[in-house]
């Protein structure tokens, strides 16, 4: 498996944050404050849950990390890149350092599992030899090698999410952002996806998972970032979904 995802060695510099947000604020043109003075430092290799009620600012948090939006103030650094100083032409290179999966999988229905994964390589100009080598490797990692020719409609929800994870990993990203990845899945399948994310994290990929799933957060006992009305109200290691007193 180490050949599938490059295992990131722990070096003296490995505590350098892969995500660093300093005094980040985001106010929409209509005056709604989505994020206010958020300070977050996530070291490389961490597994972090992002929790909070709907409208707390989780989506904005993620959109800032992938530079879909820019903060109205503060600084955001992702994988060593200052997102505010970044030119538009440099954004694709940033996005290849970040893998992202969503609750609704966002697979292309007319493409097979293999084609969905290959698509992410094709559209970034990867040579055919890389595509032919990488796609089976990643499908093997997520346990879908038997489904390479299946269309998404022929897959279960868990299998679709696995396909989306394989696609997110094609560029061997430093960070995997999972936005409610278990939101559409039953409990058993949700745990299978979590196991897969842990496996990926153990290979050195930083995982940031936004979720409402209390059971998973409580069972995992990982670092938890809690947002409420745009404010970071909690940043706790080995924590539960809700504050424990």
């Amino acid at each position: 498996m180490t050949s599938l995802l490059r295992r990131r060695a722990r070096t003296p510099d490995s505590d350098a944050p892969v995500i660093n947000m300093v005094d980040v604020g985001m106010t929409y043109p209509n005056g709604k404050v989505a994020l206010a003075d958020v300070n977050v430092r996530i070291p490389s290799g961490d597994f972090v849950f992002l929790v909070g009620p709907s409208g707390a600012g989780k989506s904005t948090f993620i959109r800032l990390l992938i530079r879909e939006q820019l903060p109205t103030h503060g600084h955001v650094t992702v994988a060593g890149r200052d997102l505010l100083r970044m030119r538009r032409g440099q954004v694709p290179a940033l996005r290849r350092r970040i893998g992202i999966v969503f609750q609704d999988f966002r697979l292309l229905p007319s493409k097979t599992v293999g084609e969905n994964v290959a698509f992410a390589l094709d559209v970034t100009g990867a040579p055919g030899s890389v595509v032919r080598r990488r796609v089976p490797q990643l499908l093997s990692l997520v346990g879908l090698q038997e489904h390479v020719h299946h269309l998404p409609t022929q897959l279960s929800g868990g299998e679709q999410q696995r396909t989306a994870i394989a696609r997110a990993l094609v560029h061997d990203p430093a960070i995997l952002i999972a936005d409610e990845p278990t939101g559409n899945l039953d409990p058993v399948t949700s745990w299978e996806i979590i196991q897969l994310l842990i496996q990926i994290n153990q290979l050195g990929t930083t995982v940031l998972m936004a979720t409402h799933n209390q059971e998973i957060v409580n069972a995992m006992r990982r670092r938890v970032l809690a947002l409420e009305a745009g404010h970071l109200v909690r940043d706790e290691a080995a924590a539960a979904y809700e504050r424990e007193y």
Binding site: I66, R88, G89, P92, A93, L94, R95, R96, I100, R106, L108, F119, A120, D122, V123, T124, G125, P127, R167, A168, V170, H171
Partner: protein
């Protein structure tokens, strides 16, 4: 190699996109053909009229009838003076005898003989001024008019001006018509590509999320528009080539100009049709994709 991969990727996706959205793509291509057929017709008419204009330009001359009693030194002075004027190519003195011989020759050409009924007719002596620049006609006429030894000045400026006005009118109306059709085609292509772009909004979003550059997103759509223009151009060229044989003699007959159709005519027209087709296709799709990407950035 990355560039070759990029081109390969874009061409394949443009081709797939064209057929995935076949009805709209073919409708856009049909409007391109309509525009290019109109453009071809305009090109044919204007070429024929231009050939006529060139013919008249080459024949534009000023003829000055001279007094019978003009003295040789005065005539020579007048010839020198006119020959020195800007836009004048040459000045020829036509004596009454030479004018009579021309008249007889003209009658003979039509198979008749010139009968004077015994009368002794003397024609005017004249100066025939050939012009290098047709615009010099007015100036030369005015100078000759002021000469006391000149009784009358004749020019073909009026015919030239009339034809020039007709050509300008046809050219203006034609360009406006082709422009309006061109705009329609442009909007058609913009809409076709816009539909294609919106139908693949999910795909574009995924492309962005996995780190595809704007070129990888934009060029397949631009090539799809270019494909509409290319197919439209090629079909129109094939149509023109198919009717080319009857068109050639018709143009010569209609415009009464053997020079109305040159050897290079079809090549020039084909290049024009291909260029306009590709240009409209590329411009329409570029506008469409650019506005979409800017709005969803």
């Amino acid at each position: 190699m990355p560039f070759v991969r990029f081109i390969g990727f874009s061409v394949v996706r443009a081709w797939q996109g064209f057929w995935r959205n076949a009805m709209m793509s073919l409708a856009a291509t049909a409007t391109v053909i309509l525009m290019l057929v109109l453009l071809s017709a305009l090109f044919l008419v204007i070429s024929g009229l231009n050939a006529g204009l060139e013919f008249i330009e080459s024949k534009v001359a000023v003829t000055a009838q001279l007094e019978d009693d003009i003295l040789v030194p005065a005539r020579e002075r007048l010839i020198e003076e006119v020959a020195a004027m800007p836009g004048v190519a040459s000045v020829e003195y036509v004596s009454p005898e030479a004018a009579w011989e021309r008249l007889e020759a003209a009658y003979e050409e039509t198979g008749q003989s010139l009968e004077t009924g015994g009368a002794d007719i003397t024609l005017f002596a004249s100066l025939e001024v050939s012009l290098a620049d047709p615009d010099a006609s007015t100036n030369v006429s005015e100078v000759l008019d002021d000469e006391p030894d000149v009784t009358r000045v004749l020019t073909k400026q009026a015919e030239y001006d009339t034809l020039l006005n007709i050509i300008n009118l046809i050219r203006t109306v034609g360009i406006i018509s082709v422009g309006l059709v061109g705009l329609t085609v442009l909007f058609m292509i913009i809409n076709t590509i816009r539909i294609a772009v919106y139908s693949r909004a999910n795909e574009i979003e995924i492309m962005r999320l996995v780190g595809a550059s704007d070129s990888f997103i934009r060029w397949p759509f631009i090539l799809e528009g270019i494909l509409c223009g290319l197919i439209g151009g090629v079909v129109t060229i094939a149509l023109v080539a198919a009717v080319w044989d009857p068109i050639q003699p018709a143009m010569v007959q209609v415009f009464q100009m053997p020079t109305a159709v040159s050897d290079q005519f079809l090549t020039t027209l084909s290049l024009l049709l291909l260029g306009v087709g590709l240009g409209v296709g590329a411009l329409g799709s570029w506008i469409s994709v650019r506005s979409y990407l800017a709005a969803t950035r």
